[in-house]
């Protein structure tokens, strides 16, 4: 019995599924194939922020909601409705995972007492 051969096959099999199951990498591929990068940048940082929003670091669940909205027309945008029309549920899931994994957007700090200490504001 050649256990080494089985171990190698097992290892290859596992690493194979590992690559295929990585949503961030698959999302990166869809991001390129669909041309999302033309406006939203290579890593979700907008190429022209006065026209296109940043997506880098945004929550995946919000992006999924947004893309489904563009796909089914509940959110209207001439370009995005077209871009999202052909996306599968899986495309949307991996795209959102890709953007969420990039560094960029942050949650606003809730420093509720901060600005009120300013002398210009009573």
């Amino acid at each position: 019995m050649n256990w080494g051969k089985y171990a190698l096959a097992l290892l290859l099999g596992l690493s194979g599924t590992g690559v295929a199951a990585n949503p961030v990498e698959r999302g990166a591929a869809v991001h390129q194939e669909r041309g999302c990068n033309a406006c939203h940048g290579e890593a979700g940082v907008s190429t022209a922020p006065d026209q296109f929003p940043h997506l880098a670091g945004q929550y995946a669940s919000y992006l999924e909601h947004t893309l489904r909205g563009y796909r089914d027309g509940t959110r209207r945008h001439a370009v995005m409705n077209q871009m999202a029309a052909e996306l599968s549920d899986e495309d949307i899931r991996v795209l959102a995972a890709f953007y969420a994994a990039q560094s960029g957007l942050v949650t606003a700090p809730r420093d509720l007492l901060g600005p009120r200490r300013s002398p210009s504001v009573r």
Binding site: G35, A38, C39, G41, E42, A43, V45, S46, T47, A48, P49, D50, Q51, F52, P53, H54, A56, G57, Q58, Y59, A60, S61, Y62, E64, H65, T74, R75, R76, A78, V79, Q82, M83, Q102, S103, G104, L105, V106, T107, A108, P109, R110, L112, G114, P115, S118, S120, V121
Partner: protein, 142 residues
């Protein structure tokens, strides 16, 4: 790809606009007006995007916003998804979103009730504040 095409066709539309405007009264004077009309149209179309807001006023006006957008991992319900991060977001995009909520082009009852009485200045200030929270370079690579 289609975005590039649509932007090109948008530019083509824009270049034809003076012809449409001047069709009624076509004379030599009108010809000289062409570039002027084009400039005016361009300024009108870009106006909202370039209104610079005040970050400090924006922070004060954004107090209510932070009740949801200032809490990490806060969730919207029915349907359930995370309330989006706004720190570092493009100011022009935030203004566009607020306008869409105000007009109810974008459907979200809570966001409509927040946006319906905001002035253009309020929107610009709030957008400037959120945009100032992170420095996301245009076209930056990771």
């Amino acid at each position: 790809m289609s975005t590039v095409l649509s932007r090109r066709s948008f530019r083509q539309c824009l270049s034809k606009a003076p012809d449409l405007v001047l069709k009624v009264n076509h004379n030599a004077a009108a010809e000289t007006m062409k570039p002027l009309i084009l400039v005016c149209l361009t300024i009108c179309l870009n106006g909202a995007a370039h209104a610079a807001g005040d970050v400090h006023s924006g922070r004060l006006k954004a107090d209510t916003c932070l009740g949801c957008h200032g809490i990490a991992n806060y969730q919207n319900v029915y349907p359930t998804y995370h309330v989006p991060k706004l720190g570092g977001q493009s100011a022009a995009y935030i203004i566009t979103a607020l306008q869409a909520y105000q007009r109810q082009d974008r459907q979200h009852p809570t966001m409509h009730s927040q946006a319906y009485d905001l002035s253009a200045e309020d929107m610009a200030d709030i957008a400037a504040y959120f945009s100032s929270l992170a420095d996301i370079e245009p076209g930056a690579q990771p």
